[in-house]
């Protein structure tokens, strides 16, 4: 354990890896239809990378579990030493609680959690594809890619205009951008996948990064595969612990020639999209978790059996 700097009142954890911090809320604001919360967490901001998430303690209505949110932005400088910002949609008791927090309130955060987006190994153009609030981690990524002098193109999609997250920021951070809405209220009517072929034309894009609903990620992966381009997706699975101990967040992934049941919270949430068995999501898995040091990644293939609970 270490003691805190700044205004955060307690920091638990080790010299590297995730922390648990009781943070002070610096600001709460609305961005379109979304809510944003910025809290003071210098040590956590120092460690956070695009694609990682934080899990936030919530109260009310008999809630027990933390709620996971992608990191949207960090600042490592300024009078607050270091802050983290998340963006969310109010969908239930946990997010309703967060939407009522105000400046100076305390909020219990664990993070940064999960595997970040890998940065490109070569100087290639990058296409970032976000659905709804899935844009949040991508805009954080866009900043990092820009800092690495890489050309960034962005496609954002949503059902309707006020569900597109941060059009202005997306335009600012990209060389080329496109927007889609299913009701045609902004940009191209339709879905992100309808404009991908156009955005990939020219052949300079070397990697696609995507975050959004699972069917969107599956469709984006299929298009990237057609174009023979690398694709990294950040998935969203229901999580009980967010730290790898409960096994609720698994999805079937091909690794080392085998199918393994990996935890989205520690082996993900970012995966190589081409390795995910999209058709098998929610189906009885036919694979095995892994043990050992190397990111819990390997394990023998086994056949499914009748399972007890727990």
């Amino acid at each position: 354990m270490s003691s805190s700097r700044g205004r955060a009142s307690s920091v638990q954890g080790r010299a590297n890896g995730p922390l648990r911090v009781l943070c002070e809320v610096l600001s709460y604001r609305r961005i379109g239809n979304y809510h944003s919360l910025t809290f003071v967490a210098p040590e956590m901001a120092e460690r956070a990378k695009p694609g990682q998430f934080v899990s936030v303690g919530v109260e009310g209505d008999g809630t027990l579990l933390r709620r996971p949110f992608s990191i949207y932005a960090i600042s490592r400088h300024g009078p607050w030493a270091g802050t983290i910002e998340i963006v969310f949609d109010v969908v239930g008791p946990g997010t309703r609680y967060l939407s009522k927090l105000a400046k100076h309130d305390a909020v219990d955060i664990v993070g940064p959690l999960g595997r970040p987006f890998p940065m490109p190994q070569q100087a290639v153009d990058c296409l970032l594809v976000g659905g709804g609030y899935g844009a949040a981690p991508l805009l954080f990524l866009a900043q990092r890619l820009q800092q690495s002098s890489l050309r960034v193109n962005i496609v954002l999609g949503a059902a309707t205009q006020n569900r597109l997250f941060n059009i202005i920021e997306a335009k600012r951070l990209s060389a080329k951008s496109a927007f889609t809405t299913e009701d045609g209220s902004f940009g191209t009517p339709g879905r992100v996948t309808d404009v991908l072929d156009r955005m990939l034309a020219g052949g300079t894009v070397g990697v696609v990064y995507a975050c959004g609903p699972m069917p969107m990620l599956a469709a984006v992966t299929a298009i990237a595969r057609d174009h023979k381009i690398a694709v990294q997706v950040a998935v969203e699975e229901a999580m009980a612990c967010g730290v790898g101990v409960c096994m609720t967040c698994v999805l079937p992934v091909r690794r080392d020639g085998r199918t393994v049941n990996l935890r989205a919270c520690v082996e993900g949430p970012v995966f190589n999209g081409k390795k995910i068995l999209w058709a098998q999501l929610g189906q009885p898995p036919v694979m095995q978790m892994a043990t050992g040091d190397d990111a819990f990644a390997k394990g023998p293939v086994v056949t499914a059996v009748v399972e007890p609970r727990s």
Partner: protein
């Protein structure tokens, strides 16, 4: 003087480091088992240990109880595997685990090196599998006890859970104790008419003690979609919602079998929860679901317990065991 002594809140405050936190988990002199403190982890709520070692030094815990291991590696059930319910959660993981052989090869040495006592949870689908699992654990350094998770379907008995039948309980436990070289705890299900008779059956099978309780079978439904919230339809209920049931089970078994060591669990998330389980008759207390809400919680209660005792002048944690006034 007498008044002070009979009061549960004794007069003299102690320093927390003056409190003796050691507890005994075996009354059998041939297989003694003492833990440095009564806090252990609940099986399936602590991963392999590596995950939480990223947060804190897990070797300060009384012991770790690992995710139930099976003979073959298991894939587990389809997702969604979890549903939050009022002050609790349902899980239907399906014992996803690497299989006992791989675990012994890769995980046990690591835990042993850390120096934390390891209680190995095993789960079989036949009586014979319990024996096979226990055989893998003979002469394994670091293993201080076996917890036989018998809240599992018995494929030889129409998938009826072992722990729901006295006969199956006794037979499964007998298979484990016949080969084990460490104390054996039978982990029981609260979904029974009379948990005392099941505990007695475990004792008849040679169990050193019992772990109380596993999850309660439950269900959650989404009214809009008309679907069960879990892919497996039903799942195990855990968390604060089940604490009263768990305390009742510990109390009943302790009253009937006062010498039987009990590892109590169910909704423990604070030092006072721990004390309540000790008072009901537990010798050690496992922290489960609370770890999902706070990864540090087992460390926090381990550090908080001696402070709680010190403030009340309680010199030994062991004296709280079964000290319920009623």
């Amino acid at each position: 003087m007498t008044a002070v002594e009979s009061s549960p809140r004794a007069a003299h405050r102690l320093r927390h480091d003056q409190v003796d936190t050691r507890v005994s988990l075996s009354a059998d002199p041939s297989q003694p088992l003492q833990l440095a403190n009564p806090i252990v982890t609940a099986s399936g709520c602590f991963g392999s240990g590596r995950e939480l070692e990223r947060f804190f030094d897990i070797s300060g815990l009384g012991a770790v109880v690992v995710k139930s291991l099976t003979v073959e590696p298991r894939d587990g059930l389809p997702t969604p595997r979890m549903a939050e319910t009022a002050s609790g959660m349902l899980n239907a993981i399906g014992l996803q685990n690497p299989g006992i052989e791989q675990w012994v090869a890769t995980e046990l040495p690591w835990l042993h090196e850390l120096g934390v006592p390891v209680i190995v949870s095993i789960a079989g689908k036949t009586v014979a599998e319990y024996r096979e699992l226990a055989e893998h654990l003979r002469d394994q350094p670091g293993v201080v006890a076996i917890e036989a998770n018998i809240s599992c379907p018995n494929v030889e008995d129409r998938n009826v859970v072992f722990a729901c039948r006295q006969d199956a309980t006794r037979k499964a436990i007998q298979q484990v104790t016949s080969v084990a070289d460490v104390p054996v705890f039978a982990k029981l299900s609260p979904d029974v008419t009379d948990i005392v008779t099941i505990a007695m059956a475990a004792v008849a099978g040679g169990a050193t003690g019992v772990s109380l309780v596993n999850t309660l079978l439950g269900m959650a439904i989404d009214a809009e979609s008309r679907r069960p919230k879990l892919a497996a339809v039903t799942g195990g209920l855990s968390g604060p919602a089940i604490k009263p049931v768990a305390l009742r089970a510990v109390h009943q078994v302790h009253q009937a079998l006062p010498d039987l060591p009990i590892i109590g669990m169910g909704g423990v998330s604070s030092v006072t929860d721990v004390v309540e389980f000790l008072l009901a008759g537990a010798s050690a207390v496992a922290v489960g679901t609370a770890t999902f809400a706070n990864p540090m919680v087992s460390l926090e209660v381990t550090q908080g317990l001696p402070r709680w005792c010190a403030e009340r002048g309680i010199a030994t944690v062991a004296e709280l065991r079964g000290a319920l006034l009623w």
